[in-house]
């Protein structure tokens, strides 16, 4: 089902997900931000302005630590948007990451780029660390780049998250959402 993106974003912001905003205040602020954006569109630049989400809503990043040496990163990709598989980069510090386990994408034919792999919907990527670092705080850097089907692309978006790695045999950590929005303010 195709959803109206701005409404979908509003719903996404207010819904009780397993990764809710920490407080009502933050949720209210997010609602406010969404309303201001909706207003900006309504006022908009003349004619044929597509209704579009800001990149942090079109491609919502979150991550959790599964065990002392594994991070699970997720992108919730809004309907009508996609991410390029070959533009995804995951690195960690201070402990280094190994090769991320990227699921196969869907082939998309592009007049200039040829066949490229893209992701839609939910993307789950396992990022293994090169060593177990129980109890340590790890910074995950996730670079991504995507587009909307209406015919616009967002620039490469570097984001980072900080995760506390669980103890061996301990429970996976909670999902963390992006803390720093790259250069989209």
């Amino acid at each position: 089902m195709k959803r109206f993106p701005t409404l979908a974003a509003l719903r996404g912001l207010v819904r009780q997900s397993r990764r809710p905003f920490p407080t009502d205040g933050m949720r209210a602020l997010a609602m406010l931000a969404a309303l201001v954006l909706a207003q900006a569109h309504a006022e908009g630049i003349p004619s044929l302005q597509p209704k579009l989400l800001p990149p942090e809503q079109a491609f919502r990043l979150s991550a959790r630590a599964l065990d002392p040496s594994t991070i699970e990163a997720r992108f919730d990709i809004a309907d009508g948007y996609y991410l390029y598989r070959d533009k995804l980069r995951f690195t960690t510090e201070p402990a280094a990451a190994g090769q991320p386990l990227l699921p196969p994408g869907k082939a998309k034919h592009d007049a200039f780029f040829g066949d490229v792999d893209i992701y839609r919907g939910e993307l789950v990527v396992r990022v293994p660390l090169t060593k177990a670092v129980a109890g340590e705080t790890i910074t995950l850097h996730a670079d991504s780049q995507g587009c909307a089907d209406v015919g616009v692309c967002y620039p490469p978006n570097p984001q980072q998250l900080r995760l506390v790695m669980p103890q061996k045999g301990g429970k996976p950590g909670a999902f963390v959402e992006t803390a720093r929005k790259g250069w989209f303010k």
Partner: protein
């Protein structure tokens, strides 16, 4: 109602009022930004190097119908729309239309793509800083392609996120060439 309940309600009312005020202020700011953006002097004030490294000031095209297109080689819809800009530049250039591309990209990739499509108008190199520049001109979502069209008087006649359709572009150019 208990005093705790009442103070909580007061807090909620205050919170809603604060939000409304913030929303109003934000909207007012957006309005002022927009009216400022209708004056194209911010566009004409742009100075950037071209793909050969020579500084180019957009003021040199003052008096033309100026189409400023923010694009990148990594942006498929941008690449798809540019051949029609090449065609329009060839057709309407002598009548006073000037296209200028501002690439959110590096010069090597820009030169390669320019050669590939036979680019016949300047491709200025903005790097990622050009995204911030486009934001100050109304590209709130920092996405590409983003195009601003100035009339001969230097006013913003059209600004658009997303590709321009060929018919829309042609209508716009002919009306701006006729009226100015």
């Amino acid at each position: 109602m208990s005093s705790t309940g009442r103070s909580r309600r007061t807090l909620i009312v205050a919170g809603v009022a604060a939000l409304a005020l913030a929303l109003g202020t934000a909207t007012a700011l957006l309005h002022s930004d927009r009216s400022a953006a209708r004056d194209g002097s911010a566009v004409l004030g742009i100075v950037l190097p071209d793909a050969q490294g020579h500084e180019q000031a957009l003021t040199q095209w003052r008096g033309k119908v100026l189409v400023v297109n923010f694009w990148a080689t990594w942006c498929a819809p941008c690449r798809e729309e540019m051949p029609q800009f090449v065609a329009a530049q060839a057709r309407d250039g002598a009548r006073g239309v000037q296209f200028v591309g501002i690439a959110v990209d590096d010069p090597v990739k820009v030169r390669a793509f320019a050669a590939e499509i036979g680019l016949n108008y300047p491709a200025l190199i903005g790097g990622y800083g050009a995204i911030e520049l486009s934001k100050t001109l109304g590209n709130d979502l920092s996405a590409l392609p983003f195009t601003i069209v100035l009339d001969r008087q230097g006013r913003v006649a059209h600004a658009q996120l997303g590709p321009l359709k060929a018919a829309q572009l042609n209508d716009l150019l002919s009306s701006l060439l006729q009226t100015s």
